[in-house]
Chain length 337, copies 2
Amino acid sequence: MADKVTIADVARVAGVSRQTVSNALNTPEVVRPETRQRVLEVVEELGYRVNFAARQMRTGRSKLIAIRIDPAGDGVNGSVFDRFLHGLTESAAGAGYRLLLYTAADDQKEIAAFQDLLGAYEPDGFVLTSTHHKDARTSWLLERGLPFVTFGRPWSEPADVHPWVDVDGSAGTEAATEHLLAAGHRRIAFIGWPSGSGVGDDRREGWRRALAGAGLDPAGLSRETPDGIADGEAAARDLLTADPDITALVCASDSLALGALHVARSPNPAWHAEAYRRIAVTGFDDTPVAKAIGLTSVHQPLTDAAARCMDLLGRALDGTPPGNLLLPPSLVVRQSA
Amino acid sequence: MADKVTIADVARVAGVSRQTVSNALNTPEVVRPETRQRVLEVVEELGYRVNFAARQMRTGRSKLIAIRIDPAGDGVNGSVFDRFLHGLTESAAGAGYRLLLYTAADDQKEIAAFQDLLGAYEPDGFVLTSTHHKDARTSWLLERGLPFVTFGRPWSEPADVHPWVDVDGSAGTEAATEHLLAAGHRRIAFIGWPSGSGVGDDRREGWRRALAGAGLDPAGLSRETPDGIADGEAAARDLLTADPDITALVCASDSLALGALHVARSPNPAWHAEAYRRIAVTGFDDTPVAKAIGLTSVHQPLTDAAARCMDLLGRALDGTPPGNLLLPPSLVVRQSA
């Protein structure tokens, strides 16, 4: 349906000339703000698709790449995005692009930010992070033929629906679990996020796969909790109290692992006088905190991921089929496991 | 001298019309890249000052604020800039601005980036971090009347030379040292950076001031080293070997403190069998690592500093005298001291 809408339809509904529609989309500085707003609303309402090939033919690329930045979190896991952002800025600079930051609290507000950015700055492309099931942002950009790449795979759509780079999270938790199995652990529990998130379910799946490979039953060994140090501590306490045979905890993040370590290292826990000596803990993301406290953790190649994102986006901008990439993580073994 | 140069001088030397000079500076998209480059070179060569008041009168503000982002460092102290950047993005969004990121390896490359940004995107202002003695960047922006604010005070110039926000570093190390004095420590050493940096010398001064206040001699109790975990470790080892009476180490950063803690907590150091039990260590910046390992550290109010920077820059853009602000830090006491 949407692909039958023409620029003439937009002009008619908005009550302006075709040239004004074109100006509102391509050179908004020559259009009055109210007019641009009305045109954009009609574009949205009718689902008019900007012809990306035609946009590409224009000479005046902005050389801007837009990326969302969130408020600072607990400071542990937030460092993942920050390292990605530093890497992306470098890679973008190498390709002659600069990054434009924006904020948005949810998908719909991020789509509103896309419209605002496209009107005001005409970024050449977008880099999206934190992909999730039924991601309204990628659908919106795809419908309009706007170039983008995601750091994070599409979780509900076919793998080739848009360009993306991701790190194989399940391979990471699988490697952590296999490392624990090789060290002789048999009761290995998992602390992760509530089911339903692509990233969280993927990390749990790696742990489950490793246990299955060793012929072990995962029943009763998994806990679901929001991400946070106190949450990891509570989940670890719950697991170790419920099952005194547990000797190792695989965690979906360094924040959770940090909380679990507080329990695992408690000098005199109620459930087992010697527990603190034998509970191995692994984290995920290899944050500076993991390095500082000797936490074994799954490392994501973030600088490489950022460079690959920029590479794929560059291909999209050049009209070359960009494809997608699943990068392998690596386990960094330290004192905690 | 520079203020006598007119747009007509630039046009004559560049061999173009006055309108072309104006276009090159204000609407670069309508000028050929080679022409713009030549005009910018002449502007720089002659020291032509863009009339900022006139720029302000233009209706089309870009609503962009430019800020430099550096490659990711050791991941400990880098979190300070990252927290500032998250805060600044939020504050800027609240004021209707977005951030434009750029990279630059030194002052001269950053000035080149200013020129490039001004030509391509016309940011309304700049936020500079990492101010230092004889800062060529602030001089360049001041000469051209371009609005900016620095996070970091001017170290070689009068305090009112340009708008800035800073955190009182010497008050932070003074508070850390006084905390140690109150706990009964008398031989308190300092591990900081090579003298000559404004920030580093300031932090050393706070420690010295606290010792002087207690009538104690700082001689032999200070070490200068590059910033890093291994550097902090080496400096702590050197200090504790040279002076077995030292019982506390005040460090200029959490990275240095983390290294110092490795020594302070070594189970059986050569210089003193019981040393690991009694060496107190303080850090600076209250990074996530400090929180995770129980390091007493000086906290900088980074979100507030970012909000104040945006506030001052907003005043500068409105033509209101912006002034400057020195914010107090706070000591976060944990297990390490």
